[in-house]
């Protein structure tokens, strides 16, 4: 078991969260949409697995590199 974070790749506002704790996700699924520079920037799952933590809420400002979703893989 190991966990992999999906991180914000740019300073932005968490516009939409499209997953929640316990959800199963596949690699490439859109987990969240960030809003920055008037662009809707999708955040894709870097790996498939189970979402174990979502340490942000919609409307929160995040910095480049901040963890948005933590995914546990087998």
């Amino acid at each position: 078991m190991s966990t992999t974070p999906a991180v914000a790749d740019v300073v932005s506002n968490v516009w939409k969260l499209l997953t929640e704790r316990g959800a199963q996700v596949r690699q490439g699924d859109v987990l969240a949409v960030l809003e920055s520079m008037k662009m809707e920037i999708p955040v894709h799952a870097p790996v498939g697995g189970r979402v174990v933590e979502v340490p942000v809420v919609e409307g929160q400002i995040v910095q480049e590199g901040d963890t948005l979703v933590l995914i546990e893989t087998d």
Binding site: D9, V10, M39, E40, I41
Partner: protein
């Protein structure tokens, strides 16, 4: 009896001196099994990189001491029939440490390449300066660096990182044009893990400090990450296929391949109507550039570093071109300090080798804020402006969607010296985006409005149509034309034929 007969008859052909040479060669070329993840010896690497059977070693008997060679195998060979000079570090001799003789040997190869106008490929696998050689080692390293700089004005230089390259051995690649690293095998750092721990207390592995992940994603020091040595040779050969052998030379001609019909047909539908929705710029490039039928027609450099912009060697009408593009799919296609450095370095390089620079624009602006200002985005952004202004090769710019503010200028605008510029009919060019412009221009009206949001939207739509559409720029001569997406390839091909004609 002639004199010659006398000689041959009185001295029967002794094979002693022949045996000596044969033995010397056997000793020098004896294969030392490569250690660790290495696949090939230094000599094998040079041979495998060049066309089969073409590698010729310079001064193979040169030695830095009683055993082993100079610590580096140098020579020349051909790649796709064109001469290249190769210097391949020999990790079997003192871990490839750079001593005085090693440095002299590399410098001789560099001078040969500079004098004769051949590209240089450095196959790096060196622990750094050879401590036993003291100040002579440092003097030699500095000499290599100086020739790296001299060569950079004359011939392409490519560095392959096939082992740990520490200290002095890390600087030479950084002075060359492009660096290719083998995953989990090549490393570059000024100081290795032990010294880092002793100096600052930071506990990090060699790969964390200077592995291919660090340098092709975060630092940008290296430009391509590959799986093994053979792939590194393949990439370096492909890189050379786009380039002339020297400044003022011409790349090998390649048959023009039209863009695939389905990609051209898709072109008008690639860019989403709503300017905030992302798309993959590669879909635009596919409908414009020559089709890449066998995987050798394109080479993206630094694909994972500053990925909001694309820098790629490709072909248009059979000619090598340098493509710069925003990539909305990654970080919205934004410009920042790292993206600016990536673009300016690429544009400089293309211009030096007469490759037309073709820029595709969909840029939301320069990323604002304390982090970027702290990184010196003003200086880095200015470097990008300078690169376009100084580019002497043809500069062609296509605005496919948004081009706002300073970022509009920075992405190869007409004012910076672009030879020809076009905008797609649905694009927007303005000092700022509709939202920001309306807030400034109609502050009072918005404050007094009963429904400010509705008014804002209405005014923004009006601004977009009346101010931001590309016709104002076209009427002012700042754009050469407004075009349909599917016309892009023809416009670019015609432009390249006119601006960089084939010699008769």
């Amino acid at each position: 009896m002639t004199q010659l007969d006398a000689l041959t008859s009185t001295r029967p052909p002794s094979s002693e001196h022949r045996d000596v040479l044969t033995q010397r060669r056997a000793d020098r070329f004896e294969r030392v099994e490569p250690r660790g993840r290495r696949q090939h010896t230094a000599r094998e690497r040079a041979e495998l990189f060049c066309d089969p059977g073409s590698f010729v070693e310079i001064a193979p008997l040169r030695t830095a001491g009683s055993t082993g060679g100079a610590g580096v195998v140098t020579g020349w060979g051909t790649v796709a029939g064109r001469p290249v000079v190769v210097a391949s570090h020999d990790a079997a001799v003192a871990s490839g440490a750079i001593g005085a003789v090693f440095a002299e040997t590399v410098q001789r190869a560099q001078e040969l390449a500079i004098d004769r106008g051949h590209p240089i490929v450095y196959i790096n696998d060196s622990g750094g300066a050879r401590i036993h050689d003291g100040i002579h080692a440092l003097h030699g390293c500095g000499g290599i660096f100086a020739l790296n700089v001299k060569a950079s004005r004359r011939v392409p230089q490519i560095s392959l990182i096939l082992g740990p390259c520490a200290g002095a051995a890390a600087y030479s690649p950084a002075l060359t044009d492009w660096t290719i690293m083998v995953k989990e095998q090549g490393q570059m750092f000024l100081t290795g893990p032990e010294i880092v721990r002793a100096a600052t207390g930071e506990d990090a592995t060699a790969d964390e400090i200077g592995g291919s992940g660090m340098h092709t994603r975060t630092s940008g020091v290296a430009h391509l990450e590959v799986e093994d040595e053979d792939e590194a040779f393949d990439r370096a050969r492909r890189l050379l296929s786009f380039l002339p052998s020297h400044v003022g030379g011409r790349p090998a001609a390649v048959q023009a391949v039209p863009a695939p019909a389905e990609a051209v047909e898709r072109l008008p539908h690639v860019v989403p109507e709503k300017s905030s929705i992302v798309f993959d710029m590669h879909d635009v490039l596919d409908g414009v550039l020559d089709a890449d039928t066998d995987g050798t027609g394109r080479l993206e450099l630094s694909p994972e570093h500053a990925p909001s912009v694309i820098t790629m060697l490709a072909r248009l009408d059979g000619r090598a071109v340098g493509v710069v593009a925003n990539q909305p799919l990654r970080r919205g296609g934004v410009l920042d300090a790292k993206a600016s450095v990536k673009i300016s370095r690429f544009v400089d390089f293309c211009a030096r080798y007469d490759l037309p620079v073709v820029t595709f624009v969909d840029v939301p602006g320069f990323l604002p804020g304390t982090v970027e200002e702290g990184r010196g985005v003003i200086t880095q952004g200015a470097t990008m402006l300078r690169a376009y202004v100084e580019a002497t090769s043809p500069v062609l710019t296509v605005i496919v969607r948004k081009a706002y503010g300073g970022a509009y200028i920075a992405m190869g605008a007409r004012s910076l010296g672009a030879d020809l510029t076009w905008a797609w009919s649905g694009s927007e060019i303005a000092v700022m985006g509709p939202g920001g412009a309306v807030a400034l221009l109609h502050r009072r009206a918005l404050r007094d409005a009963e429904d400010p949001d509705a008014l804002r939207e209405e005014l923004a739509a009006e601004y977009r149509e009346k101010v931001a559409r590309p016709y104002l720029a076209a009427e002012a001569g700042i754009l050469d034309d407004v075009i349909h997406p599917e016309e892009t390839r023809d416009r670019l091909v015609q432009a390249v034929r006119m601006l960089a004609p084939e010699p008769a």
